[in-house]
Symmetry: C2
Subunit: 307 residues, 2 copies
Amino acid sequence: MSLLVIGSVAFDAIETPFGKTDKIIGGAATYITLSSSYFAKQVNLVAVVGGDFPKNDIALLNEHGIDTEGLQIKEDQKSFFWSGKYHNDMNSRDTLVTELNVLGDFDPIIPASYQSSEYVMLGNLSPQVQKTVIERMEKRPKLIAMDTMNFWMDIAKDELDETIKMVDVLIINDEEARQLSGEYSLVKASKKIREMGPKYLIIKKGEHGALLFNQDRVYFCPALPLEEVFDPTGAGDTFAGGFIGYLAATDDISFDNMKRAVIYGSAMASFCVEKFGTERLIALDKKTIESRVQAFIDLSQVELQIT
Amino acid sequence: MSLLVIGSVAFDAIETPFGKTDKIIGGAATYITLSSSYFAKQVNLVAVVGGDFPKNDIALLNEHGIDTEGLQIKEDQKSFFWSGKYHNDMNSRDTLVTELNVLGDFDPIIPASYQSSEYVMLGNLSPQVQKTVIERMEKRPKLIAMDTMNFWMDIAKDELDETIKMVDVLIINDEEARQLSGEYSLVKASKKIREMGPKYLIIKKGEHGALLFNQDRVYFCPALPLEEVFDPTGAGDTFAGGFIGYLAATDDISFDNMKRAVIYGSAMASFCVEKFGTERLIALDKKTIESRVQAFIDLSQVELQIT
């Protein structure tokens, strides 16, 4: 089934204890589409860039089978730019620069050929823009997943609540789940958040794995213990891309299949952090991915007969 | 097979955001023996208490099938006492009082009837005392597991290194693993620590689960997501008790069985934190434990065929 992805396509400049980059290709939708392209047959991108965005980076997306008909190019404007510096433990970072540029007045136009998309991934953006995408879909997609962040909880809580109400799966991190719910316990947080609308909630805990909640069921997928995390930028988006891409590819939204999708998302994220930016993500193949998924199985599966 | 446990049997006074206790029964060996008593046929305790230690608490251990022939009672001295206060997030605590008392010159005497113990759990104590226990075993046990803490890394590193070299399984938390190895990455830490002697290393990450390392294998067991952690005191010792107790009961030290033992240890620890001190731990039964183990299976197991 085809997948529609909306989010930022942008420039990042990243500094980690291992080095720093100049402006490189980044943005939530870049990571989501690249990650999902290894699974979903058809990935449809809705985003906006400025005239400064390199044509060969758009070509790179196309080479991964990503449809960029919905990628608006504002020739006389500049692309969204984010710059950040990671602390030594890689678990926190300072934002050095945020230039909204083209994102400031982004009007998400959905090409007619995208209207049949059964799966939708709303990457982190203003909740108003995310909501507009849902409203512009002529037919309710089979599954809508959404990412967001603290920033929108601080400045656009009402719009955020409205958008959250409309989605099936919310994908956020532990800190965001605590802020959104006002609960420290993630079990309590997950109940409150699912009362806001989404039947499914994924709470990402970075190096500590991810939790999937639905009804009275909960599934936990660990993160792969790595010798070195080189650059965490985009890991959350790459997770979301692997998750939704796997669901679109298998077209099965049962809880059991969502568990598998969480593993695929985690596997993709584990690649992402091994190099700067999208470097590792653009050079994968099916066999490499499946061998990584096997590592997650080996890490977490056990044979146990309760007597 | 029978299990020998050494460690503190003591008084604790605990303060958490949910309330505070007077002096209650505590100590590493108390939690370890109670937890392992649900699995191992024979649990042999080596410890020391003062004349102030209530006889009915010793009787309670006996009711759980714990052999207290090796529990020395120094009638004219006082028992070890620890008092601590947990912070709001329950992840950190301040020690308010530590009175070594009888532990100050503890000479661990092993009764002849304990000499056939095939499994040994060295609870957190001075590494010199832990080493003495190993040296006083007439026959090398089948498996020796050991807990320790930062305190001994600070003040008795040489003795600690000597003792660590003699054990099969080291069970410590993530912070301790980082201090012991000087490595932030737990994968790197685990390699360095296993080069120090222990073939198996368990790194406990509290609410984030536990990792088991051996050779190039790693297994991860999540912690059960709980609505409320009431009192974390003794959770690590309860984990160790469930782990070693399951191994002694099954008498199988293969990696696959150690994975199961980590689940049983995690299940026991998840009970421990539900009430103050040993309150929850003393009132369990086989069926309740197995239903909790099933919750861990439901939480972490997945059906996935890699195509």
